[in-house]
């Protein structure tokens, strides 16, 4: 039975274990593991849980070098890490998860690497579309954020299909940033705000819409509304793997009150402990950041 790592849940993993092996010890250990994790998450949930966590998935190529894999192998390992991290986030109760899958700057990479990543994205999205019943059961809404016109055509089509197929889900959100940079997002939001404002002015054969005030102009809330990321609240934690301390043009506008966390683990090495530690750090900073948000 082929296993699609995108939608495999704890329950179906357990089922496979039972079918494959009658080893009672293995079953006992798996149950113990799952119970221990539920206990841990239960304890952590006593404190505040972030509503939105963003991840910069950095370190796939370094991982491949470290373990002498092909570069593609690093990206594939990174994808598996993504599935684990998503599972833990949704289990703990995080509602929005954003990931930086592909930057506009990444188009500058070698063409064969860009092609590989595009192909991988297409493969995973199409695989995901084949298992929609389970995805919809968990209520995950998938959104692709960025300049989608820059994506290779088959990837863009698959992405749009996935967005349409999960549009009715509202339980949890997965925002995948592709062909994205803040340097593109901010001027674009200005452009969209200008278009919207001028649309109001042009309303009714040149006569001004009663509510529109020429003096008011474009405000920060208008820009917020027209950002690509306007579909979700600002992130509470931004995690960048591999220990790098920069944001690399990701969510610069949205991280005013966001905790920045840089675990040393490379992205394919990310797992339960980094997610837990990030949330514990968030809980320690919670009072301070709430105070700052209220002052704004």
């Amino acid at each position: 039975m082929e296993v699609n790592p995108i939608i495999t849940t704890d329950n179906s993993l357990k089922q496979m274990e039972e079918e494959r092996s009658e080893n009672i010890m293995t079953k006992l250990l798996t149950d113990l593991n799952s119970t221990a994790r539920k206990l841990l998450f239960g304890a952590i949930s006593t404190g505040p849980i972030p509503q939105h966590i963003a991840f910069i998935m950095d370190g796939n190529r370094r991982f491949a070098k470290k373990w002498k894999l092909t570069e593609g192998g690093g990206h594939k390992a990174g994808f598996l890490a993504l599935m684990s991290v998503l599972k833990y986030c949704y289990e703990i109760g995080v509602k929005y998860v954003t990931v930086y899958a592909f930057s506009l700057d990444n188009f500058n990479r070698r063409p064969d690497e860009v092609q590989y990543v595009m192909d991988l994205m297409q493969e995973k999205i199409e695989g995901f579309l084949k298992q929609l019943t389970i995805v919809n059961k968990y209520g995950v809404r998938v959104l692709f954020i960025g300049d989608l016109k820059r994506l290779y055509e088959p990837v863009r089509i698959a992405a749009e299909k996935a967005m349409e197929a999960t549009a009715k889900n509202t339980k949890t959100y997965l925002l995948v940033c592709v062909a994205y940079t803040s340097s593109h997002e901010i001027p674009r939001a200005i452009y969209e705000s200008c278009q919207a404002k001028s649309g109001v002015v042009m309303n009714g054969n040149g006569s001004v819409n009663g509510d529109y005030n020429h003096e008011v102009g474009i405000k920060v809330v208008d820009l917020d509304k027209h950002m690509y990321m306007g579909v979700a609240p600002d992130p509470d934690i931004l995690v960048r793997s591999s220990g790098e301390t920069r944001l690399s043009n990701f969510l610069l506008w949205q991280t005013t009150d966001c905790l920045l966390y840089s675990p040393k683990a490379l992205w394919p090495e990310m797992g339960l402990w980094q997610v837990v530690w990030g949330i514990l750090k968030f809980q320690m900073s919670y009072k301070y950041l709430e105070k700052k948000k209220k002052q704004a």
Binding site: H184, R188, L252
Partner: protein, 255 residues
């Protein structure tokens, strides 16, 4: 039947009790975990103090020969409450001056540092605030540093002002060409509003939490952000360490 009713009721009560005590247990566990973390943080602070002492007094040679050319523009983010303690900020700037940093961007959310600009100018030389002309103080050639003072109003609100500039330029005339705005349009509009300074290469964050607290977004694209802890616990050796680490970082800029 009465017996089964009573037994069912007592079972439910037992379950409720155990759930309550279960929740209590988790609550206690959470507090224990956070207590352990607080202890670990205190231990870490002590270790950092020792490390800083060793670096400052030259026991760790690698941090002393700094290639300051790589740090063309240093940014300092300070928590506004801590920024009110001007003497602490002055001490920090004295350390930076001693290290040899020439250009510093000082940010605090509420603009507390902006209000104290005269004090800094007097001590360290010229200072610049966005939208104001360059004001120079007495020149002490050894200590002279160039400052820029930034606060929250120079972030998103400035971008909104730039948006209005662009609207006036391209949208007031119904027939004019309306290009899709790129980074260049934004940068030019911001320059007109006085935002001419470059992006900081390295950002040192002094506050309880690692958060840039609203530093102008478009200037942070590739800045390395290092959390230095609260301002009152600042350590000279750790600044050297942060700068040294920065000079060793290799950025691919996405490619």
């Amino acid at each position: 039947m009465l017996y089964s009713l009573i037994s069912r009721h007592s079972t439910m009560a037992l379950v409720a009790e155990s759930q309550k005590s279960g929740n209590m247990l988790l609550f206690l566990l959470w507090h224990v975990v956070h207590l352990i973390i607080s202890v670990l943080y205190i231990v870490r602070e002590i270790l950092r103090a020792i490390e800083s002492y060793l670096i400052t007094n030259g026991y760790v040679k690698t941090n002393t020969n700094l290639n300051l050319d790589r740090v063309k523009y240093l940014g300092i983010v300070v928590d506004s409450d801590e920024a009110r303690n001007t003497s602490q900020v002055i001490e920090l700037l004295e350390w930076l001056s001693a290290i040899g940093v020439k250009k510093v961007c000082l940010y605090d959310r509420e603009g507390v540092l902006k209000k104290s600009k005269e004090v800094f100018m007097e001590k360290f030389g010229s200072a610049k605030i966005p939208n104001e002309k360059l004001v120079s103080g007495p020149l002490l050639s050894k200590k002279r540093m160039d400052f820029e003072f930034v606060s929250l109003s120079d972030g998103k609100e400035l971008v909104a002002k730039a948006a209005n500039l662009l609207f006036k330029k391209y949208y007031v005339d119904a027939d004019s060409e309306k290009p899709f705005f790129t980074e260049t349009h934004l940068t030019d509009a911001l320059k007109t509003l006085g935002a001419v300074e470059p992006d900081p290469d390295l950002l040192l964050i002094y506050g309880p939490v690692r958060c840039h607290l609203g530093f102008p977004a478009w200037r942070l694209r590739y800045s390395e952000m290092v959390h230095m802890g609260p301002l009152k616990y600042k350590k000279y050796g750790l600044i050297l360490k942060a700068i040294h680490r920065f000079t060793k970082v290799k950025q691919n800029y996405g490619s």
